[in-house]
Amino acid sequence: MATAADIAAEEFTRVVERHRPQIFRFLLGSTRDVDLAETLTQECFLKAHRNWGSFRGESSAMTWLMRIAINLQKDHWRNRRMQFWRTTRTNSVDLDEASEWLPSGESSAEQKLLARERVKQVWASVKGLSERQRTVFLLRFVEEQELSEIAAATGLSEGTVKAHLSRAVARVRLELGGKR
């Protein structure tokens, strides 16, 4: 007969299987560093595992995990700012490399080139966003989360999330408009 601990472990395994790619994707978008995103994803699930017992299910598991991931990347950037000499060791890929990943649906070479240029411009805007704006932008436009979910994950009010999103979108529009 399965004990409560076994059931909890099984549940946690399912949560990991289900949400790990999404958490990794968010962290990859935030850091543009595959190794760092992997490390932070590991840390996120390690932390989640340690606190799994205290998770009451008031928010969705995804929101809870995302909150941990956001705090981890915040801590990471804070530490990086403090240890400014380590900035040279960053493995973040440049915008060209990040823009090379395109949807396979583009048919002609010209369309692919245009799409790549557009993606590069969005990346350039994302790079220029503040940490908070970048977080809400990625959660909205990559993870397709609702305002309420973003608010719950970031600990901001829905109004603040909306304001950050508007500013982020304005920046993207400006970037796209400037290069047109």
Binding site: A98, L102, R118, V122
Partner: protein
Amino acid sequence: MNWLSQPKKGPNHTGEELQIELLGGKDVELEEALKDFRAGMHAWSEAAYRRPHTISRQIRHRSWRLVTGWALGCMLLAGSVSGLVFEQHQRRQARIAVVQRAAEQARQLAEREARARVSDEVLLAGVDSDVSRQVPSAMEPLAQLMEENPQ
């Protein structure tokens, strides 16, 4: 369990309205750019997530970089230290050379002065001897007498 389920997204979902509101109406180019960005991000993430994990190779690369960094650092340090030592040595040599040159010059000056002093003394002695031997003609008989009878 309820909290395990993904948020439902469909055409009637408020997400689309929010999107339009955020984009300030229909902006096809912006929508396309965001769609491509999302798709690209998903493709990149999926590829990175499924890539073979070559941790050992990465570690090897990193350790090589570390070793190279340390070696270069040590070389730089050794170069700086040896350069400093060489510079000090050169300065000391130059100082010694200056001192030796000054000493040599002082010695040569002293020799010249000594030589000059000797030649002056010889000259004066010659003059004295010449002066002492010249006797006025009126005193000549007395001088002959003094030579014959030195007492």
